[in-house]
């Protein structure tokens, strides 16, 4: 009686074996598909905006500039750019200040403006060399280092991207 029972159990196991194999195949397919999906959905690596860099922010530098041809005084670059869009400060004054910031440590600066002509919105960028500032042509490589700010003044609203630091 006992051996008959055992035989019965063995029979059951043998019958369910192909089903188990099928289950394993299905589970394998599930794992494969889920890995494929997770691979497709993996977010691309991206550089977080460095908060430490905010202290070395180009917009928080203080050049001495003349506003509306009055006596020159210290002003934050952020405010100077706002006034430049209002045509109260000349662009050349700001760019020459940017050039003066270049040294062996902070040897690159770049400036982009959402209203600039062209798809890249690139306005200007220079790097420090012994012979003097040299224009940056391959500005695309600095994309991850750029900081973004919005300039708002009356009806003017522009998004600017900028960088000051090592090349």
């Amino acid at each position: 009686m006992i051996s008959k029972n055992r035989k019965g159990q063995l029979g059951k196991i043998i019958v369910s074996l192909p089903i188990l194999i099928l289950l394993v195949i299905i589970m394998g397919a599930f794992v494969f598909l889920s890995i494929t999906f997770s691979g497709l959905k993996a977010p691309a690596e991206q550089s977080a905006v460095s908060l430490a860099d905010a202290k070395e922010n180009l917009l928080l530098k203080t050049p001495v500039l003349s506003v509306s041809e009055k006596e020159p005084e210290e002003i934050l670059v952020y405010d100077a750019i706002t006034l430049m869009y209002e045509e109260k400060i000349k662009e050349t004054e700001i760019t020459s200040f940017f050039q003066s910031l270049l040294n062996e440590e902070n040897n690159c600066y770049l400036f982009f403006d959402s209203n600039a002509i062209g798809t890249s919105n690139f306005v200007f960028g220079y790097k420090y060399t012994i012979t003097g500032p040299e224009e940056i042509l391959n500005y695309n490589i600095y994309e991850e280092k750029l900081l973004t700010n919005t300039i708002k003044s009356g009806e003017i609203q522009r998004e600017i991207k900028h960088y000051l630091g090592p090349c």
């Binding site: 999906f37 210290e74 006034l83 700010n149």
Partner: protein
């Protein structure tokens, strides 16, 4: 006997059906999961930068106003320095008001700060930055030494 066997097979088949439908729904959930993780992370990163920038802007602007106050009024009393600080700050506000500077210009306009013992103290300043549903508010006190 035959009916009993068939019933057993139906139950066994049901396990397959349930397992396959569960796997299918899990895969469907994975496939339909929102893809904008990248966008969210960029947005939050920009939000933190903006909050930090606003805070540093207020600090830098107040330092600048204070140094200009001290230059223009070298032998002034504390009260005179305070009035000069308000005057310069109002000039700057009318020329270019940075919208994200929180309550800084409000405090200076109303004279809600003290100049004592060669120090400027402004309490309960705040700056905010927002993107969509997310918002960061930073509250801080400003203590600055008057440059000699």
């Amino acid at each position: 006997m035959l009916i009993k066997r068939k019933k057993g097979q139906i139950a066994f088949l049901m396990i397959f059906v349930v397992a396959i439908s569960l796997s299918g729904s899990a895969l469907l959930m994975m496939a339909s999961f929102s893809e904008d993780l990248n966008f969210r992370s960029e947005e939050i990163s920009q939000l933190s930068y903006q909050a930090k920038f606003n805070y540093l802007y207020v600090q830098a602007q107040s330092k600048l106003i204070l140094s200009q106050t001290a230059k223009k009024c070298p032998s002034c009393s504390n009260e005179q320095l305070k009035q000069k600080f308000i005057e310069i700050s109002n000039e700057k506000e009318s020329l270019f008001r940075y919208e994200s500077s929180g309550n800084f210009y409000g405090k200076t306009r109303n004279g809600n700060f003290t100049i004592q013992n060669n120090e400027l103290k402004m309490e309960n300043l705040f700056v905010e930055s927002a993107a969509g549903e997310n918002k960061i508010k930073k509250t801080f006190n400003l203590i600055l030494k008057i440059p000699q």
